[in-house]
């Protein structure tokens, strides 16, 4: 049994403490916006925020997050209008779209810490998130746009 906050709500999850947060969110909480891509912290598809910072939920256990606040894409913005989500749409970023939630969550963490990142800082912060369709050019532009409004 783990007690944690998910998207602002306190939740008790009846599951082993070594369960990966990713599967607890998806299978037990029905929060399927967070994706499985590698199970090893290598691709970033499963990125969520823990106390505001981006982490890979596929290598984070329920024990790791006991008593902490988890934010998933479902809780990033109540109306889906986070500046990054808006920028993503304006730039027509996605192709297949599967990795984009992780990309947005990673970028949101970056902008929360560093509201005006340089291009180098954007590229560095996003380097753990793979997009096999190859949308990097637009991802970078969207993060830049959300940060600068340009």
């Amino acid at each position: 049994m783990a007690t944690l906050t998910i998207n602002g709500q306190e939740r008790e999850i009846d599951a082993p403490g070594d369960m990966w947060l990713l599967w607890a969110l998806r299978d037990l909480e029905g929060l399927t916006g967070t994706k499985y891509g590698c199970g090893a912290g290598l691709c970033g598809a499963c990125t969520v925020h823990i106390d505001g910072t981006a982490v890979r939920s596929c290598i984070t256990t329920l024990d790791d997050v006991a008593g902490r606040a988890v934010t998933t894409i479902e809780g990033l913005s109540p109306d889906g209008e986070h500046p990054l989500q808006v920028a993503w749409r304006e730039m027509n970023v996605p192709q297949c779209g599967f990795c984009q939630v992780g990309q947005i969550m990673q970028a949101a963490s970056l902008l929360a810490e560093n509201p005006k990142p340089s291009d180098a800082e954007i590229l560095d912060a996003m380097s753990g998130n793979i997009c096999r369709c190859g949308c990097y050019q637009r991802i970078t532009a969207a993060v830049r746009s959300a940060a600068t409004g340009a």
Binding site: A15, P16, M19, W20, L22, W23, A24, R26, D27, L28, G30, L31, T32, G33, T34, K35, Y36, G37, C38, G39, A40, L42, C43, A45, T72, I73, E74, G80, Q85, W88, R89, N92, P94, Q95, C96, G97, F98, C99, Q100, V101, I104, I122, L123, D124, M126, S127, G128, N129, I130, C131, R132, C133, G134, C135, Y136, Q137, R138, I139, T140
Partner: protein, 798 residues
């Protein structure tokens, strides 16, 4: 769901009234002056096909594919009373945008306001929707005409409905004899279809599509010849690039549904330990530790298969649990002793060495033009090079996953599959059920690239659900995906030319050696088959008098499947690298050399040029999509000029060129490479693409940008290797992808503009093949180091 669909279909058969009895349909009339002479009175009810508002229908390969192309608007379109227009997307969406672009074509032609269009995904049902096999860069190529036809049909039906609604007097609308020349016609339109409404031209009144829905859906479906098509100048969406993908918002909010997002009541999750070597089997396994994992409920053996077994699962041991976490942990806790089977001695290094030797010997002759032996016998000089490629796995971000519920004699499947009807057929066979008792729902695909054309994972889910009696999701891990794919083939391509005293190429011999996809489907002949041969090998476009294309033997020891662009990847790699090497050898400018090799402006004549009888032009009638050297040269020049070919570059930088026609689309790449601390960086890539009429330029650009990234990944990183029959790599740590720290940062796409009369072609695959040779050619120009083996790594050694 499709409120008027069922109703419309019921009445459809009865509503096809004879043309001359159809009231009010005609929106044009002809001056009596037009009726001169006495022709046979074949009636075409007023729908005048003037050159400006029609298109010449042309044949496409889709008509010859299973279940062909369906053009019945009542199957694809319905209109709700509130005006919502629902359009069926019958192709799978894996990132190319076809789920948006095809309905967009239909919506534009019918006059629908895109913001009031709803898209529903077709279930796997080819008898109803026509061919749904989403691969081969075919969706736009095969369906742009049918989408326009259905859009024009609905617009026509809405016009009829409006005329009926206003009870217009259509008696003075004269039927037009076929012999009346269009320019003698004076059109007097009664109604006009505007955006999402129809206007009465006499009164100026308007009525919305929703209010006409019921009448319109009862109107007879017009024949193609009766249709008036929009003038290209009237397009609002087609060719504009102003429509975002339909699922854009859902993707950004995490509500888009992919395969793994399907959750059914009582559903169990399975993870499967599959034999490391294809054709292997578990001889002994201990599930004690697996069963001790909380949530693990059952451990089941699955029947295996070996090649050729099409898409049959590999077999192995399945762990079934209440959740995915437990299933994977249980699977990982299995102790299994495997028997390798017949392919346990497959080793990549030795195999490539063998293929190199094979490539040096004569192979099966596929194309023979002129006198190749004479050309080499009389050559002043010969020049030969070998180019290799390792196997690749698709590694789409969403690993294979499928959900199945088999109960009460029926099977229902939810899966990200490229061929939903093929999946349905294969599952019916695997379960011993009739196709009618199997339903396949297509979710969004988190990438496909050819892997999800093979439905083994959906068959696994169906078998396990049938066995357990509960709904089952089969989740592949990334390791499963990398180690149990249907791999892109591995190859050696050897090219040798004969040169005369003046340095002119007089003979071209290309031996392609690679295990074939055909070995996945039937007994392995050791030779590639006509589809592979047609991908950049026998269709080599250079103007050389003596050409021989050969195929040396190579047996398959793993499941070979198609990967985005398929055999075009190794062929473009070889031919375009070789052209640059030859230029260097002869002291020539690379662009000039390539242009000279391509030669005069012409369309190739396959018969005269010794192409094989079974030459495969991507399934298209050759005359409709010929190999046009002017188009090939044009894209090369566009890309080269845009990249500043010929300009002075700083030390450690270079531009590389490559041009290749694949899937009847022409793409040239000019890649700019910069070597930073020994690492290959690709700051700028120019992609010039000629895909005929460009239906959705925005998605064409996104495909070219993505192709540059995938092309760079395969150039630098993508090598699947085998040791003792098993794949060495496992995840993104050792099967790497290009990331934001080193990717083609500025991809500029140049789209060659054409009118609709230049047949639209696809762009899902053609962007990939020229990237690797362009990067390698640029590396050579930057450093003098020639790369001939894919993948060549990120860091230059030595």
């Amino acid at each position: 769901m499709l409120s008027y669909l069922a109703q419309a279909q019921d009445t459809h058969a009865h509503s096809r009234r004879a043309t001359e009895q159809a009231p009010g349909l005609t929106i044009a009339k002809v001056s009596r002056r037009g009726f001169l002479g006495t022709g046979a009175a074949v009636f075409a009810l007023a729908a005048f096909a003037r050159p400006s508002n029609a298109f010449e229908r042309y044949p496409v390969g889709g008509e010859e594919m299973p279940h062909g192309i369906v053009t019945d608007p009542l199957v694809f379109v319905s209109i709700d009373p509130d005006g919502t227009v629902t359009i069926v997307a019958h192709r799978s969406e894996m990132g190319t945008g076809s789920r948006t672009s095809l309905p967009m074509v239909l919506a534009d032609e019918m006059g629908a306001d895109w913001s009031r269009v709803k898209i529903v995904q077709a279930e796997g049902d080819e008898p109803k929707y026509g061919n749904q096999d989403t691969d081969g860069s075919r969706s736009m190529r095969h369906h742009i005409q049918s989408m326009r036809q259905m859009g024009a049909s609905v617009r026509h039906m809405l016009s009829v409905a409006a005329a009926e609604h206003w009870d217009l007097d259509t008696s003075d609308v004269v039927r037009i004899e076929q012999w009346a020349a269009p320019d003698q016609a004076v059109e007097t339109e009664l109604v006009e279809v505007l955006e999402h409404e129809v206007r009465n031209l006499a009164t100026g009144e308007t009525i919305g599509f929703g209010d006409l829905a019921e009448l319109a859906m009862r109107a007879p479906v017009p024949a193609f010849e009766e249709l008036r098509f929009r003038d290209e100048g009237q397009f609002r969406y087609i060719g504009k690039g102003n429509v975002s993908i339909y699922d854009l918002r859902d993707i950004t909010t995490g509500t888009a549904i992919y395969g793994g997002d399907v959750m059914l009541p009582g559903m169990k999750v399975a993870a499967i330990a599959r034999p490391p070597v294809v054709g292997g089997r578990p001889v002994r396994f201990d599930a004690t530790a697996a069963r001790a994992i909380p949530g693990v409920e059952r451990v089941l053996g699955l029947p295996g298969s070996t090649m050729p077994a099409k898409f049959a699962p590999l077999g192995g041991v399945a762990v079934i649990a209440t959740n995915t976490d437990a299933a994977i942990k249980g699977r990982d806790a299995l102790e299994i002793e495997w028997e390798a089977g017949p392919h346990g001695s497959y080793n990549s290094e030795a195999f490539t060495a063998e293929m190199r030797e094979t490539a040096k010997k004569p192979g099966q002759v596929l194309r023979d033009e002129g006198d190749i032996d004479g050309a080499f016998a009389s050559a002043a000089k010969t020049f030969a090079r070998d180019y290799t490629q390792a196997h690749m796995a698709h590694a789409m971000m969403e690993p294979p996953v499928a959900v199945a519920s088999v109960a009460d004699g029926r099977a229902e499947i939810w899966a990200p599959v490229q061929s939903p009807y093929g999946t349905r057929q294969d599952i019916a066979e695997a379960l011993g059920m009739a196709v009618e008792d199997v339903e396949v729902h297509v979710t969004l695909l988190g990438g496909g690239f050819g892997r999800k054309s093979k439905c083994d994972y959906a068959i696994e889910a169906a078998l396990l659900s049938q066995k357990t009696g509960t709904p089952v999701k089969v989740q592949w891990t990334r390791e499963d995906d990398i180690r149990h794919s249907f791999y892109h083939t591995t190859s050696v391509e050897r090219i040798e030319v004969a040169l005369d005293d003046a340095g002119k190429v007089t003979g071209w011999r290309h031996n392609s050696v690679a295990p074939s996809i055909a070995a996945t489907f039937g007994p392995d002949s050791g030779h590639q088959f006509f589809i592979e041969n047609g991908m950049g090998h026998v269709d080599m476009p250079f103007e050389i008098a003596n050409v021989r294309c050969e195929n040396g033997e190579a047996m398959a020891h793993t499941r070979i499947g198609w990967f985005r662009s398929v055999s075009n990847v190794p062929r473009a790699w070889a031919v375009q690298s070789f052209a640059a090497e030859l230029a260097h050898e002869l002291g020539r400018d690379e662009r000039e050399m390539l242009l000279e090799l391509i030669g005069s402006d012409r369309t190739l004549d396959p018969k005269a040029q010794g192409f094989p009888e079974d030459f495969w032009n991507y399934g298209e009638v050759y005359e409709e999509y010929p190999i046009d050297t002017a188009r090939l040269k044009h894209v090369l020049n566009v890309a080269a000029d845009a990249a500043g070919w010929g300009s002075e570059l700083p030390e450690g930088e270079g531009i590389g060129l490559a041009v290749h026609r694949s899937f009847v689309t022409y793409v040239a790449t000019a890649a700019r490479v910069k070597i930073v601390d020994g690492r290959i960086r690709v700051p700028e890539v120019h992609m010039a693409v000629d895909c005929g009429f460009a239906a959705n330029p925005e998605r064409i650009r996104s495909q070219m940008e993505g192709a540059a990234v995938m092309g760079m990944t395969l150039a630098l990183h993508s090598g699947i290797t085998f040791e003792d029959g098993a794949v060495v790599q496992s995840n993104f740590n050792d099967y790497e992808m290009v990331r934001s720290t080193n990717y083609p940062e500025n991809v500029v796409t140049h789209i060659v503009e054409h009118p609709f009369s230049v047949h639209a072609a696809g762009v899902g695959e053609p962007g990939v093949p020229p990237i690797a040779p362009a990067i390698a050619n640029a590396v050579f120009n930057a450093t003098g180091k020639r790369l001939r083996d894919l993948p060549f790594g990120e860091t230059l050694e030595g």
